[in-house]
Protein backbone atom coordinates (compact mmCIF):
# COMPACT_ATOMS: atom_id res chain seq x y z
CA UNK A 1 0.00 0.00 0.00
CA UNK A 2 2.80 2.39 0.91
CA UNK A 3 6.17 1.99 -0.70
CA UNK A 4 9.25 3.67 0.62
CA UNK A 5 12.00 3.83 -1.97
CA UNK A 6 15.63 4.81 -1.39
CA UNK A 7 14.81 7.36 1.27
CA UNK A 8 17.62 9.70 2.27
CA UNK A 9 17.58 12.48 4.83
CA UNK A 10 20.66 14.58 5.42
CA UNK A 11 20.87 17.45 7.87
CA UNK A 12 23.51 19.98 6.99
CA UNK A 13 25.57 21.21 9.87
CA UNK A 14 26.82 24.79 9.97
CA UNK A 15 30.52 25.00 9.11
CA UNK A 16 32.82 25.46 12.06
CA UNK A 17 35.28 27.47 10.04
CA UNK A 18 34.60 29.32 6.84
CA UNK A 19 36.83 27.13 4.68
CA UNK A 20 36.19 23.82 6.40
CA UNK A 21 34.34 21.09 4.59
CA UNK A 22 30.59 21.10 5.08
CA UNK A 23 29.49 18.22 7.27
CA UNK A 24 26.12 16.62 7.21
CA UNK A 25 24.31 14.21 9.48
CA UNK A 26 23.03 11.25 7.54
CA UNK A 27 19.91 10.44 9.52
CA UNK A 28 18.34 8.16 6.93
CA UNK A 29 20.63 6.57 4.42
CA UNK A 30 18.82 4.76 1.64
CA UNK A 31 15.86 3.06 3.27
CA UNK A 32 13.40 1.01 1.22
CA UNK A 33 10.47 -1.10 2.33
CA UNK A 34 6.86 -1.77 1.50
CA UNK A 35 3.93 -1.67 3.86
CA UNK A 36 1.12 -4.04 3.04
CA UNK A 37 -2.47 -3.31 3.85
CA UNK A 38 -3.53 -4.47 7.30
CA UNK A 39 -0.11 -5.50 8.54
CA UNK A 40 1.97 -4.25 11.43
CA UNK A 41 5.45 -3.41 10.31
CA UNK A 42 8.04 -2.93 13.04
CA UNK A 43 11.00 -0.64 12.69
CA UNK A 44 13.60 -1.28 15.38
CA UNK A 45 16.97 0.18 16.10
CA UNK A 46 18.96 2.05 18.70
CA UNK A 47 18.32 5.73 19.26
CA UNK A 48 19.82 7.75 16.44
CA UNK A 49 19.33 5.00 13.89
CA UNK A 50 16.89 7.11 11.90
CA UNK A 51 13.72 5.17 12.61
CA UNK A 52 11.71 8.15 13.88
CA UNK A 53 12.94 10.32 11.03
CA UNK A 54 11.70 7.70 8.58
CA UNK A 55 8.29 7.78 10.27
CA UNK A 56 8.07 11.56 10.19
CA UNK A 57 9.01 11.62 6.51
CA UNK A 58 6.22 9.18 5.71
CA UNK A 59 3.64 11.46 7.33
CA UNK A 60 5.44 14.39 5.67
CA UNK A 61 6.21 16.29 8.86
CA UNK A 62 9.69 16.65 7.41
CA UNK A 63 10.78 16.50 3.78
CA UNK A 64 13.26 13.90 2.62
CA UNK A 65 16.53 14.86 0.93
CA UNK A 66 15.88 12.33 -1.82
CA UNK A 67 13.89 9.19 -2.44
CA UNK A 68 10.18 8.61 -2.61
CA UNK A 69 7.25 7.67 -0.45
CA UNK A 70 4.67 6.19 -2.79
CA UNK A 71 1.02 5.81 -1.94
CA UNK A 72 -0.89 3.91 -4.62
CA UNK A 73 1.98 4.74 -6.95
CA UNK A 74 1.94 8.48 -6.26
CA UNK A 75 4.79 10.31 -4.56
CA UNK A 76 3.44 12.00 -1.44
CA UNK A 77 6.27 14.52 -1.25
CA UNK A 78 5.12 15.99 -4.57
CA UNK A 79 1.55 16.54 -3.36
CA UNK A 80 0.16 20.08 -3.51
CA UNK A 81 -1.54 21.62 -0.46
CA UNK A 82 -4.93 20.15 -1.25
CA UNK A 83 -3.62 16.64 -1.99
CA UNK A 84 -1.51 16.82 1.14
CA UNK A 85 -4.57 17.59 3.24
CA UNK A 86 -6.31 14.53 1.80
CA UNK A 87 -3.17 12.49 2.51
CA UNK A 88 -3.14 13.70 6.10
CA UNK A 89 -6.61 12.22 6.60
CA UNK A 90 -5.31 8.82 5.57
CA UNK A 91 -2.17 8.76 7.65
CA UNK A 92 -1.68 9.63 11.30
CA UNK A 93 1.16 9.61 13.78
CA UNK A 94 1.17 8.79 17.50
CA UNK A 95 4.14 10.09 19.45
CA UNK A 96 6.07 8.60 22.29
CA UNK A 97 5.38 10.93 25.15
CA UNK A 98 1.69 11.16 26.06
CA UNK A 99 2.55 14.11 28.33
CA UNK A 100 3.83 16.19 25.42
CA UNK A 101 1.35 15.09 22.77
CA UNK A 102 -1.67 16.80 24.30
CA UNK A 103 -2.09 20.55 24.47
CA UNK A 104 -2.27 21.25 28.24
CA UNK A 105 -4.71 24.14 27.76
CA UNK A 106 -7.40 22.18 25.90
CA UNK A 107 -10.06 19.74 27.04
CA UNK A 108 -10.30 16.19 25.76
CA UNK A 109 -13.40 17.20 23.82
CA UNK A 110 -11.57 20.03 22.07
CA UNK A 111 -8.62 17.78 21.27
CA UNK A 112 -10.88 15.17 19.69
CA UNK A 113 -12.95 17.75 17.82
CA UNK A 114 -9.91 19.50 16.36
CA UNK A 115 -9.23 17.04 13.50
CA UNK A 116 -12.91 17.12 12.55
CA UNK A 117 -12.88 20.92 12.42
CA UNK A 118 -9.68 21.00 10.37
CA UNK A 119 -11.20 18.69 7.80
CA UNK A 120 -14.70 20.22 8.11
CA UNK A 121 -16.42 16.94 8.92
CA UNK A 122 -20.04 16.96 10.08
CA UNK A 123 -21.95 19.52 12.11
CA UNK A 124 -21.55 19.90 15.84
CA UNK A 125 -23.97 17.16 16.78
CA UNK A 126 -22.45 14.65 14.37
CA UNK A 127 -19.01 15.57 15.68
CA UNK A 128 -20.17 15.06 19.25
CA UNK A 129 -21.47 11.62 18.39
CA UNK A 130 -18.27 10.66 16.65
CA UNK A 131 -16.19 11.90 19.57
CA UNK A 132 -18.19 9.86 22.08
CA UNK A 133 -18.06 6.75 19.87
CA UNK A 134 -14.31 7.15 19.55
CA UNK A 135 -13.91 7.56 23.32
CA UNK A 136 -15.78 4.30 23.87
CA UNK A 137 -13.55 2.62 21.28
CA UNK A 138 -10.43 3.51 23.23
CA UNK A 139 -11.97 2.45 26.53
CA UNK A 140 -12.90 5.84 27.95
CA UNK A 141 -16.32 7.42 28.41
CA UNK A 142 -18.23 10.72 28.32
CA UNK A 143 -16.98 11.73 31.75
CA UNK A 144 -13.60 12.50 30.17
CA UNK A 145 -14.96 15.08 27.72
CA UNK A 146 -14.47 18.12 29.94
CA UNK A 147 -11.21 17.02 31.50
CA UNK A 148 -7.82 18.56 30.86
CA UNK A 149 -4.73 16.46 30.11
CA UNK A 150 -3.21 17.08 33.54
CA UNK A 151 -6.21 15.36 35.09
CA UNK A 152 -5.47 12.12 33.23
CA UNK A 153 -3.00 9.30 33.87
CA UNK A 154 -0.35 8.37 31.34
CA UNK A 155 -2.37 5.46 30.00
CA UNK A 156 -5.53 7.57 29.74
CA UNK A 157 -3.60 10.27 27.92
CA UNK A 158 -2.23 7.80 25.42
CA UNK A 159 -5.79 6.56 24.85
CA UNK A 160 -6.85 10.13 24.11
CA UNK A 161 -3.88 10.56 21.75
CA UNK A 162 -4.87 7.37 19.94
CA UNK A 163 -8.50 8.49 19.78
CA UNK A 164 -7.46 11.84 18.28
CA UNK A 165 -5.36 10.04 15.68
CA UNK A 166 -8.10 7.59 14.74
CA UNK A 167 -11.06 9.95 14.72
CA UNK A 168 -10.38 10.81 11.07
CA UNK A 169 -10.53 7.06 10.29
CA UNK A 170 -7.06 6.89 8.74
CA UNK A 171 -5.88 3.85 6.80
CA UNK A 172 -2.42 3.98 8.17
CA UNK A 173 -0.90 4.96 11.53
CA UNK A 174 2.74 5.55 12.41
CA UNK A 175 3.26 4.68 16.08
CA UNK A 176 6.50 6.34 17.06
CA UNK A 177 7.60 4.67 20.31
CA UNK A 178 3.91 4.70 21.16
CA UNK A 179 4.17 2.78 24.40
CA UNK A 180 7.77 3.32 25.48
CA UNK A 181 6.93 6.04 27.99
CA UNK A 182 4.35 3.92 29.80
CA UNK A 183 4.54 1.41 32.62
CA UNK A 184 4.82 -2.20 31.51
CA UNK A 185 1.32 -3.08 32.67
CA UNK A 186 -0.14 -0.07 30.87
CA UNK A 187 1.95 -0.89 27.80
CA UNK A 188 0.23 -4.24 27.49
CA UNK A 189 -3.20 -2.60 27.77
CA UNK A 190 -2.40 -0.05 25.09
CA UNK A 191 -0.90 -2.69 22.77
CA UNK A 192 -4.02 -4.83 23.12
CA UNK A 193 -6.14 -1.76 22.47
CA UNK A 194 -4.13 -1.01 19.32
CA UNK A 195 -4.61 -4.60 18.15
CA UNK A 196 -8.35 -4.39 18.72
CA UNK A 197 -8.59 -1.07 16.91
CA UNK A 198 -6.53 -2.47 14.04
CA UNK A 199 -9.08 -5.20 13.59
CA UNK A 200 -12.04 -2.86 13.88
CA UNK A 201 -10.80 -0.15 11.52
CA UNK A 202 -8.61 -2.39 9.33
CA UNK A 203 -5.55 -0.26 10.04
CA UNK A 204 -2.01 -0.63 8.85
CA UNK A 205 0.62 0.17 11.48
CA UNK A 206 4.19 1.25 11.18
CA UNK A 207 5.44 0.51 14.67
CA UNK A 208 8.66 2.27 15.56
CA UNK A 209 10.35 1.06 18.71
CA UNK A 210 13.58 0.16 20.41
CA UNK A 211 11.87 -2.43 22.55
CA UNK A 212 12.42 -5.82 20.93
CA UNK A 213 10.03 -7.65 23.22
CA UNK A 214 7.20 -5.35 22.24
CA UNK A 215 8.05 -5.52 18.56
CA UNK A 216 8.21 -9.31 18.54
CA UNK A 217 4.88 -9.53 20.26
CA UNK A 218 3.13 -6.88 18.25
CA UNK A 219 4.46 -6.94 14.67
CA UNK A 220 4.06 -9.13 11.60
CA UNK A 221 7.25 -8.06 9.91
CA UNK A 222 10.32 -6.35 11.31
CA UNK A 223 13.06 -4.21 9.83
CA UNK A 224 16.21 -3.58 11.85
CA UNK A 225 17.92 -0.25 11.31
CA UNK A 226 21.50 0.68 12.02
CA UNK A 227 22.86 4.15 11.28
CA UNK A 228 20.11 5.07 8.87
CA UNK A 229 20.10 1.79 6.95
CA UNK A 230 17.96 -1.32 7.13
CA UNK A 231 20.40 -4.13 7.83
CA UNK A 232 17.89 -6.94 8.05
CA UNK A 233 14.22 -7.32 7.29
CA UNK A 234 11.87 -10.26 7.57
CA UNK A 235 8.84 -11.73 9.24
CA UNK A 236 8.86 -12.18 13.01
CA UNK A 237 9.60 -15.91 12.59
CA UNK A 238 12.43 -15.14 10.16
CA UNK A 239 14.03 -12.95 12.76
CA UNK A 240 13.82 -15.69 15.37
CA UNK A 241 16.94 -16.83 13.58
CA UNK A 242 18.65 -13.53 12.86
CA UNK A 243 21.32 -13.51 10.18
CA UNK A 244 23.01 -10.14 10.40
CA UNK A 245 25.64 -9.91 13.16
CA UNK A 246 24.01 -6.71 14.44
CA UNK A 247 20.57 -8.28 14.63
CA UNK A 248 22.06 -11.30 16.34
CA UNK A 249 23.63 -9.14 18.98
CA UNK A 250 20.47 -7.08 19.35
CA UNK A 251 18.20 -10.07 19.77
CA UNK A 252 20.54 -11.91 22.09
CA UNK A 253 20.35 -8.94 24.43
CA UNK A 254 16.69 -9.61 25.16
CA UNK A 255 16.57 -10.91 28.71
CA UNK A 256 15.19 -14.46 28.90
CA UNK A 257 14.57 -16.88 31.71
CA UNK A 258 17.06 -19.32 30.18
CA UNK A 259 20.40 -18.69 31.85
CA UNK A 260 22.35 -20.79 29.35
CA UNK A 261 21.82 -18.63 26.30
CA UNK A 262 24.97 -16.89 25.28
CA UNK A 263 24.81 -13.19 24.78
CA UNK A 264 26.78 -11.52 22.04
CA UNK A 265 28.04 -8.32 23.53
CA UNK A 266 29.06 -5.61 21.12
CA UNK A 267 32.05 -3.50 21.84
CA UNK A 268 32.25 0.21 21.26
CA UNK A 269 29.66 2.87 20.67
CA UNK A 270 27.45 3.62 17.71
CA UNK A 271 29.49 5.88 15.40
CA UNK A 272 28.16 9.40 14.95
CA UNK A 273 25.71 9.86 12.12
CA UNK A 274 27.89 12.71 10.88
CA UNK A 275 30.82 10.34 10.36
CA UNK A 276 29.39 7.04 9.14
CA UNK A 277 32.18 4.51 8.55
CA UNK A 278 33.08 3.66 4.99
CA UNK A 279 31.99 0.31 3.59
CA UNK A 280 29.60 -1.54 5.86
CA UNK A 281 28.51 0.94 8.55
CA UNK A 282 28.64 -1.84 11.12
CA UNK A 283 32.24 -2.95 10.46
CA UNK A 284 33.66 -0.98 13.41
CA UNK A 285 31.75 -3.14 15.88
CA UNK A 286 31.16 -6.37 13.96
CA UNK A 287 32.66 -9.52 15.54
CA UNK A 288 32.97 -11.14 12.08
CA UNK A 289 34.59 -8.22 10.35
CA UNK A 290 36.55 -8.98 7.17
CA UNK A 291 38.90 -6.80 5.21
CA UNK A 292 36.37 -6.08 2.45
CA UNK A 293 33.79 -4.82 4.95
CA UNK A 294 35.93 -1.74 5.47
CA UNK A 295 35.79 -0.68 1.85
CA UNK A 296 32.89 -2.33 0.15
CA UNK A 297 29.28 -1.61 0.96
CA UNK A 298 27.34 -4.86 1.25
CA UNK A 299 24.34 -5.29 -1.04
CA UNK A 300 20.94 -6.58 -0.08
CA UNK A 301 20.69 -10.39 -0.17
CA UNK A 302 17.34 -12.09 -0.41
CA UNK A 303 17.55 -15.22 1.70
CA UNK A 304 13.87 -15.88 1.06
CA UNK A 305 11.34 -13.58 -0.61
CA UNK A 306 10.60 -12.05 2.78
CA UNK A 307 13.93 -12.23 4.51
CA UNK A 308 16.61 -9.84 3.34
CA UNK A 309 19.95 -9.08 4.90
CA UNK A 310 22.76 -6.66 4.10
CA UNK A 311 26.02 -8.38 4.97
CA UNK A 312 29.10 -9.74 3.18
CA UNK A 313 28.82 -13.00 5.12
CA UNK A 314 25.99 -14.05 2.82
CA UNK A 315 27.67 -13.34 -0.52
Amino acid sequence: MIEVKNLYKYYHMPRKKFFSKETSIKAVNGVSFTLRKGETFGLVGESGSGKSTTGEIIVQLIKQTSGQVLYKGKDVSKFNALQLKVWRRKVQIVFQDPYASLNPKKTVQWILREPLIIHKIGNRREQDKRIIDMLHDVGLDESFLKRYPHELSGGQRQRVVIAAALILHPEFVVIDEGVSALDVSVQAQILNLLKALQKKYRLTYLFISHDLNVVQYFCDRIAVMYLGEIVEMGTVSDLDEPKHPYTKALFSSIPTRDVNTSETVLSGEVPSASAIPEGCPFHTRCPFVQERCKHEKPVKHELTTEHTVRCHLYD
Binding site: I93, Q96, L102, N103, K106, E114, P115, I118, V161
Partner: protein
Protein backbone atom coordinates in the same frame (compact mmCIF):
# COMPACT_ATOMS: atom_id res chain seq x y z
CA UNK B 1 1.76 18.43 38.97
CA UNK B 2 -0.07 19.96 41.90
CA UNK B 3 -0.77 23.61 41.34
CA UNK B 4 -0.38 25.75 44.41
CA UNK B 5 -2.69 28.71 44.40
CA UNK B 6 -0.60 30.61 46.92
CA UNK B 7 0.42 34.00 45.67
CA UNK B 8 3.38 35.95 46.95
CA UNK B 9 3.11 39.01 49.18
CA UNK B 10 4.65 41.37 46.56
CA UNK B 11 1.95 40.22 44.15
CA UNK B 12 -0.76 41.28 46.60
CA UNK B 13 0.88 44.63 47.37
CA UNK B 14 1.31 45.31 43.65
CA UNK B 15 -2.25 44.31 42.89
CA UNK B 16 -3.58 46.57 45.68
CA UNK B 17 -1.62 49.61 44.51
CA UNK B 18 -2.64 49.10 40.90
CA UNK B 19 -6.29 48.56 41.84
CA UNK B 20 -6.33 51.74 43.99
CA UNK B 21 -4.79 53.81 41.20
CA UNK B 22 -7.18 52.32 38.70
CA UNK B 23 -10.09 53.14 41.02
CA UNK B 24 -8.82 56.72 41.27
CA UNK B 25 -8.74 56.90 37.50
CA UNK B 26 -12.30 55.56 37.27
CA UNK B 27 -13.60 58.10 39.80
CA UNK B 28 -11.87 60.93 37.99
CA UNK B 29 -13.91 60.15 34.89
CA UNK B 30 -17.05 61.28 36.75
CA UNK B 31 -15.86 63.37 39.66
CA UNK B 32 -12.92 65.52 40.63
CA UNK B 33 -13.01 67.81 43.69
CA UNK B 34 -12.40 70.87 41.49
CA UNK B 35 -12.21 71.51 37.77
CA UNK B 36 -8.61 70.40 37.09
CA UNK B 37 -7.97 73.42 34.87
CA UNK B 38 -9.71 76.02 37.02
CA UNK B 39 -7.25 78.64 38.25
CA UNK B 40 -7.75 80.32 41.60
CA UNK B 41 -5.33 83.21 41.56
CA UNK B 42 -5.99 84.00 45.19
CA UNK B 43 -4.85 80.55 46.29
CA UNK B 44 -1.59 79.97 44.45
CA UNK B 45 0.77 77.34 45.86
CA UNK B 46 -1.56 76.81 48.80
CA UNK B 47 -0.42 74.30 51.40
CA UNK B 48 -2.30 71.01 51.69
CA UNK B 49 -5.44 71.70 53.72
CA UNK B 50 -8.94 70.36 54.10
CA UNK B 51 -10.02 72.57 51.22
CA UNK B 52 -7.23 71.41 48.91
CA UNK B 53 -6.05 68.04 50.18
CA UNK B 54 -2.82 68.10 48.13
CA UNK B 55 -2.57 71.88 47.96
CA UNK B 56 -2.60 73.98 44.78
CA UNK B 57 -0.04 74.63 42.07
CA UNK B 58 1.55 77.83 40.80
CA UNK B 59 -1.67 78.81 38.96
CA UNK B 60 -3.86 77.98 41.91
CA UNK B 61 -5.17 74.75 40.38
CA UNK B 62 -6.17 71.94 42.72
CA UNK B 63 -3.35 69.37 42.68
CA UNK B 64 -5.55 66.46 43.73
CA UNK B 65 -7.92 67.09 40.83
CA UNK B 66 -5.07 67.39 38.37
CA UNK B 67 -3.48 64.29 39.80
CA UNK B 68 -6.69 62.34 39.26
CA UNK B 69 -7.10 63.72 35.77
CA UNK B 70 -3.43 62.88 35.10
CA UNK B 71 -3.99 59.24 36.05
CA UNK B 72 -6.34 58.99 33.04
CA UNK B 73 -3.49 60.05 30.79
CA UNK B 74 -1.12 57.65 32.49
CA UNK B 75 -3.43 54.67 32.08
CA UNK B 76 -4.42 55.68 28.56
CA UNK B 77 -0.83 55.96 27.44
CA UNK B 78 0.24 52.87 29.37
CA UNK B 79 -2.48 50.62 28.00
CA UNK B 80 -2.36 51.92 24.44
CA UNK B 81 1.38 51.87 24.01
CA UNK B 82 1.66 48.41 25.54
CA UNK B 83 -1.03 47.30 23.08
CA UNK B 84 0.82 48.91 20.18
CA UNK B 85 4.07 47.30 21.29
CA UNK B 86 2.38 43.96 21.87
CA UNK B 87 0.69 44.00 18.47
CA UNK B 88 3.84 44.65 16.46
CA UNK B 89 5.97 42.61 18.83
CA UNK B 90 3.64 39.65 18.39
CA UNK B 91 3.58 40.03 14.62
CA UNK B 92 7.36 40.10 14.36
CA UNK B 93 8.10 37.63 17.16
CA UNK B 94 5.50 35.10 16.04
CA UNK B 95 6.67 35.12 12.41
CA UNK B 96 10.31 34.85 13.45
CA UNK B 97 9.73 32.11 15.99
CA UNK B 98 7.24 30.07 14.03
CA UNK B 99 8.75 30.10 10.57
CA UNK B 100 12.41 30.36 11.50
CA UNK B 101 15.08 30.35 8.82
CA UNK B 102 15.57 33.51 6.79
CA UNK B 103 12.31 35.07 8.05
CA UNK B 104 13.63 34.77 11.58
CA UNK B 105 16.95 36.24 10.50
CA UNK B 106 15.25 39.21 8.80
CA UNK B 107 12.90 39.97 11.72
CA UNK B 108 15.63 39.71 14.31
CA UNK B 109 18.02 42.01 12.43
CA UNK B 110 15.21 44.57 12.28
CA UNK B 111 14.76 44.20 16.04
CA UNK B 112 18.52 44.54 16.51
CA UNK B 113 18.38 47.80 14.58
CA UNK B 114 15.59 49.05 16.86
CA UNK B 115 17.52 47.98 19.93
CA UNK B 116 20.67 49.73 18.78
CA UNK B 117 19.10 53.03 19.88
CA UNK B 118 18.29 53.59 23.53
CA UNK B 119 14.50 53.37 23.74
CA UNK B 120 13.89 56.85 25.07
CA UNK B 121 16.13 58.41 22.38
CA UNK B 122 14.17 56.57 19.74
CA UNK B 123 10.95 57.94 21.21
CA UNK B 124 12.35 61.48 21.35
CA UNK B 125 13.46 61.19 17.73
CA UNK B 126 10.06 59.94 16.58
CA UNK B 127 8.27 62.73 18.45
CA UNK B 128 10.51 65.49 17.11
CA UNK B 129 10.11 64.19 13.56
CA UNK B 130 6.33 64.09 13.92
CA UNK B 131 4.79 66.37 16.53
CA UNK B 132 4.27 66.13 20.28
CA UNK B 133 0.85 64.95 21.42
CA UNK B 134 -0.84 61.96 22.98
CA UNK B 135 -1.13 59.95 19.75
CA UNK B 136 2.50 60.26 18.80
CA UNK B 137 3.61 59.66 22.37
CA UNK B 138 1.69 56.39 22.35
CA UNK B 139 3.19 55.33 19.03
CA UNK B 140 6.70 56.27 20.06
CA UNK B 141 6.48 54.50 23.42
CA UNK B 142 4.85 51.51 21.72
CA UNK B 143 7.74 51.27 19.28
CA UNK B 144 10.10 51.44 22.21
CA UNK B 145 8.69 48.24 23.71
CA UNK B 146 8.44 46.28 20.44
CA UNK B 147 11.91 44.63 20.73
CA UNK B 148 11.26 43.28 24.22
CA UNK B 149 7.94 41.76 23.24
CA UNK B 150 9.24 40.42 19.93
CA UNK B 151 12.12 38.63 21.63
CA UNK B 152 10.02 37.12 24.39
CA UNK B 153 7.32 35.99 21.98
CA UNK B 154 9.87 34.60 19.54
CA UNK B 155 11.60 32.47 22.14
CA UNK B 156 8.28 31.22 23.54
CA UNK B 157 7.20 30.27 20.04
CA UNK B 158 10.43 28.44 19.31
CA UNK B 159 10.07 26.50 22.52
CA UNK B 160 6.40 25.64 22.12
CA UNK B 161 6.40 24.74 18.45
CA UNK B 162 8.61 21.73 19.16
CA UNK B 163 6.07 20.04 21.38
CA UNK B 164 4.51 16.88 20.06
CA UNK B 165 1.01 18.32 20.18
CA UNK B 166 2.02 20.94 17.64
CA UNK B 167 3.57 18.26 15.44
CA UNK B 168 0.53 16.05 15.86
CA UNK B 169 -1.78 18.89 14.90
CA UNK B 170 0.32 19.54 11.80
CA UNK B 171 0.11 15.86 10.93
CA UNK B 172 -3.67 16.16 11.18
CA UNK B 173 -3.58 18.84 8.52
CA UNK B 174 -3.81 22.04 10.61
CA UNK B 175 -2.64 25.25 9.00
CA UNK B 176 -0.18 27.74 10.46
CA UNK B 177 -2.86 30.18 11.65
CA UNK B 178 -4.70 27.40 13.48
CA UNK B 179 -1.50 26.19 15.14
CA UNK B 180 -0.38 29.68 16.14
CA UNK B 181 -3.68 30.77 17.69
CA UNK B 182 -5.06 27.48 19.06
CA UNK B 183 -1.94 25.65 20.14
CA UNK B 184 0.91 28.05 20.73
CA UNK B 185 -0.73 31.27 21.91
CA UNK B 186 -2.77 29.75 24.79
CA UNK B 187 0.42 28.19 26.14
CA UNK B 188 2.52 31.34 26.15
CA UNK B 189 0.02 33.74 27.71
CA UNK B 190 1.82 33.96 31.06
CA UNK B 191 5.25 35.08 29.80
CA UNK B 192 3.49 37.64 27.61
CA UNK B 193 1.44 38.83 30.58
CA UNK B 194 4.55 39.30 32.71
CA UNK B 195 6.32 41.20 29.94
CA UNK B 196 3.27 43.40 29.37
CA UNK B 197 2.92 44.28 33.06
CA UNK B 198 6.58 45.10 33.45
CA UNK B 199 6.59 47.08 30.24
CA UNK B 200 3.53 49.01 31.47
CA UNK B 201 5.53 50.56 34.31
CA UNK B 202 8.44 51.27 31.97
CA UNK B 203 6.07 53.03 29.61
CA UNK B 204 4.58 55.20 32.36
CA UNK B 205 8.05 56.19 33.49
CA UNK B 206 9.08 56.98 29.92
CA UNK B 207 5.93 59.04 29.41
CA UNK B 208 6.69 61.01 32.55
CA UNK B 209 10.19 61.55 31.22
CA UNK B 210 8.97 62.72 27.83
CA UNK B 211 6.40 65.07 29.37
CA UNK B 212 9.06 66.41 31.70
CA UNK B 213 11.06 67.32 28.61
CA UNK B 214 7.93 68.91 27.17
CA UNK B 215 7.71 66.29 24.39
CA UNK B 216 4.88 64.23 25.79
CA UNK B 217 1.35 65.25 26.60
CA UNK B 218 0.77 68.91 25.79
CA UNK B 219 -1.00 71.47 27.98
CA UNK B 220 -3.69 71.86 29.13
CA UNK B 221 -4.07 68.02 29.45
CA UNK B 222 -2.56 67.20 32.85
CA UNK B 223 0.23 64.68 32.93
CA UNK B 224 2.27 63.57 35.93
CA UNK B 225 5.53 64.13 34.14
CA UNK B 226 4.71 67.67 33.22
CA UNK B 227 3.39 68.40 36.69
CA UNK B 228 6.76 67.32 38.04
CA UNK B 229 8.45 69.75 35.69
CA UNK B 230 6.08 72.55 36.68
CA UNK B 231 6.73 71.80 40.33
CA UNK B 232 10.49 71.98 39.98
CA UNK B 233 10.94 75.76 40.38
CA UNK B 234 8.94 75.69 43.58
CA UNK B 235 10.85 72.82 45.16
CA UNK B 236 11.87 75.07 48.08
CA UNK B 237 8.69 77.09 48.52
CA UNK B 238 6.11 74.37 47.83
CA UNK B 239 7.87 71.02 48.36
CA UNK B 240 4.58 69.11 48.66
CA UNK B 241 3.91 69.67 44.94
CA UNK B 242 7.08 67.79 43.92
CA UNK B 243 6.77 65.18 46.64
CA UNK B 244 3.16 64.29 45.87
CA UNK B 245 3.69 64.13 42.13
CA UNK B 246 6.86 62.11 42.46
CA UNK B 247 5.21 59.74 44.91
CA UNK B 248 2.33 59.13 42.49
CA UNK B 249 4.68 58.18 39.66
CA UNK B 250 6.72 55.98 41.97
CA UNK B 251 3.61 54.23 43.28
CA UNK B 252 2.36 53.50 39.77
CA UNK B 253 5.71 52.10 38.61
CA UNK B 254 6.20 50.15 41.83
CA UNK B 255 2.70 48.71 41.66
CA UNK B 256 3.11 47.35 38.16
CA UNK B 257 6.62 46.06 38.82
CA UNK B 258 5.48 44.15 41.90
CA UNK B 259 2.51 42.81 39.98
CA UNK B 260 4.71 41.62 37.12
CA UNK B 261 7.24 40.02 39.47
CA UNK B 262 4.42 38.37 41.39
CA UNK B 263 2.97 36.82 38.26
CA UNK B 264 6.39 35.60 37.23
CA UNK B 265 7.08 34.02 40.62
CA UNK B 266 3.79 32.21 40.46
CA UNK B 267 4.59 30.98 37.00
CA UNK B 268 8.00 29.73 38.10
CA UNK B 269 6.41 27.88 40.96
CA UNK B 270 4.09 26.09 38.59
CA UNK B 271 6.78 24.90 36.22
Amino acid sequence: MMMKRRKSIPFHIGLTIVMLLFLMMLISLFYTPYDPNMMQTNARLAKPSLEHLFGTDNFGRDILSRMMQGSQTAFLIGISSVSVGLFFGFLIGACAGYFGGWIDELCMRFIDALMAFPGILLAIMLITVFEPGIKNTILALGMMSVPTFARIIRSSFMQTKQFDYVKASKAKGAGSIHIIFKHILPNIVSPILVAATLSFSGTILAEAGLSYLGLGVQPPDPSWGRMLKEAQPYIATAPWYVIITGTMITLMVLGFNLLGDGIRDQQDKKS
